[in-house]
Structures are given as structure tokens and as C-alpha cells.
Symmetry: C2
Subunit: 131 residues, 2 copies
DNA sequence: TTTAGTGCAAACGATTTGCAAAATA
DNA sequence: TATTTTGCAAATCGTTTGCACTAAA
């Protein structure tokens, strides 16, 4: 049910997610979209972010920080979380390896594995240089 | 600093984590430990759960549900999250595969990868039968 | 007797929700 | 006009924290 209706706010959020590479928090999205829609509320941002993830047009990345990050790139790929500066980066990784792991995991399991998320932890290049 | 001192509450939490396989939330731990320590507070449970994870005597598993789960089994292993009943299960998986993926990930990355967590998603055996 | 751990309750940050008004179909 | 989406504010959820008190070393 629930026929989807167009909204400029959602469009703007979608565009922002599509062009940025910084894996923003909901609040960062809010701050950015606010430039075009000064009256937009955080609630609307959350509603649309959730809607987009449900539609498969965005990805929600949980971090050890508590808050989630959002990513407009829905192609299967992996993420790196810098434990020093708390940045989230994309990780270029042969997805064949991931599929192999998924397959291996399915072998001794009586349920159905639909997907898997891997987050890598460590220090990013920037943080290493500064130390 | 901060010399560690014994506490029966912590001991009880530790024992519970050691014997259960259900990957409990902080609240579930609280409810259980309350049977032995009726006056224990949720704050104490959180403090000890965090202490134990810092000491490496427990693992904190973030779920898409928001709340974290805790695991007394600190041996490297993987977890499965049932998107239907929200249960967390252990997954028997050859850790060599995981290490391969970690290694592959490090190759094209200018930072340092210290660890990685993989969570598998799907439907567990119980939920499949019931449908 | 010094230091760490506890219970309690208040505070917190991230996210969700109810509702009347505004936008879309 | 019918239905969805919005803005706002209050509410909720999981977790953390300050403080006076108790237990361990």
C-alpha cells in the first residue's frame, strides 16, 4: 500500500547522497539540505532517509559511535571506519571474495543468508601521517 | 591507571555471558542478574559490560535494531542476524577466509586495517519453517 | 583508610511519532 | 478532492553520568 508521492525535500536528500562521498550522518544531511530548504525538519530528513534505505536507494551504515551513516552508493562495496578520526571511507575490494565468504558461511547454516556487511577498523592514511 | 577491584555483580554478569548462547542485550543481562542481585541497577550492568569489552573478555555486537548485543565468547567467530525474528546466532565459518578478505582489503588501502567485523543477514532456520 | 564499584535518578544523543497544515496526484 | 508529506514538538529508546554511599584492598 501507500502510493509514493514526489517531494522536493526527498529529491534534494537523494541528490546530496548521490554526489557526496563522505558517508554523512542524518544530521549532516539535515544541515546540508537546510541550505535549500531552510524550514526542513530533522524528522523529515530521518523519514526520507529511512524511506530511501527501504527502497534500496541508499544504505545505512551502523558505526561504533552509535549514530548511523548514510551512503547513496548502493553497489555492493565495503567500508572502513577510522577509529581515530571516526571517518567512514569506501574500500575497494574484489567483491568475488565477499561472495565466496557468503557462500562458505551458508554451508553449515540451516537458514538463508541474504547478505553480509563487513566493516574494517583501523587508522586511515591521514591519521597515520599526522602521528 | 585505575586498579581493578573485584565485584560480585561483575562476576555474575561475566558468568552469565559465559554460559548463555543467546547474545543478550544489556537489558536482558540486567533482568537475569537481577535474580541474584535484586537491587542492581541498569547503569551498573552497562558499566560492567563496557568494562568487560574493554578488557577483551566480552564482545559488543551492534545490530541494525539500534541496541547492542553482548557475547562472552571472545574467540574470533561470526554472527548472523535474522531480519525476521531479530535473533543473533553464531556462525561457524572458516576464519581463514575472513583473513584472506582482510588481506585483500589492505592491499589497495593507504591506512592500517586492524580488524574487521562481518555480520550476515537473512532468515534463520526457525523463521523459514514457520513460513 | 584509600580507592573502586554501586544504586539511583537525572541527563544524554540519536531517532521516532502524533498531529494539524501544506504539497502532490 | 483524496492522500501523502511536511514541520514542529513531544516522546521514546538505549546508554551514560554525577553523586553520595557501600564494598574491596
Amino acid at each position: 500500500m501507500a502510493a509514493l508521492k514526489y517531494s522536493r525535500q526527498r529529491e534534494c536528500i537523494k541528490n546530496y547522497l548521490a554526489m557526496t562521498k563522505e558517508h554523512p550522518t542524518a544530521d549532516t544531511v539535515y544541515l546540508h539540505v537546510k541550505e535549500d530548504f531552510p524550514n526542513i525538519s530533522l524528522g523529515t530528513v530521518y523519514r526520507n532517509l529511512n524511506l530511501l534505505t527501504d527502497l534500496g536507494e541508499a544504505i545505512k551504515i551502523p558505526t561504533p559511535d552509535g549514530g548511523d551513516r548514510f551512503d547513496g552508493n548502493t553497489m555492493p562495496h565495503n567500508h572502513f571506519f577510522c577509529t581515530n578520526c571516526r571517518k567512514v571511507l569506501d574500500l575497494d575490494l574484489d567483491m568475488k571474495k565477499i561472495e565466496q565468504v557468503n557462500k562458505a558461511a551458508a554451508e553449515n547454516f540451516d537458514g538463508i543468508i541474504e547478505s553480509s556487511t563487513t566493516i574494517f577498523y583501523g587508522k586511515c592514511g591521514d591519521c597515520i601521517q599526522k602521528s
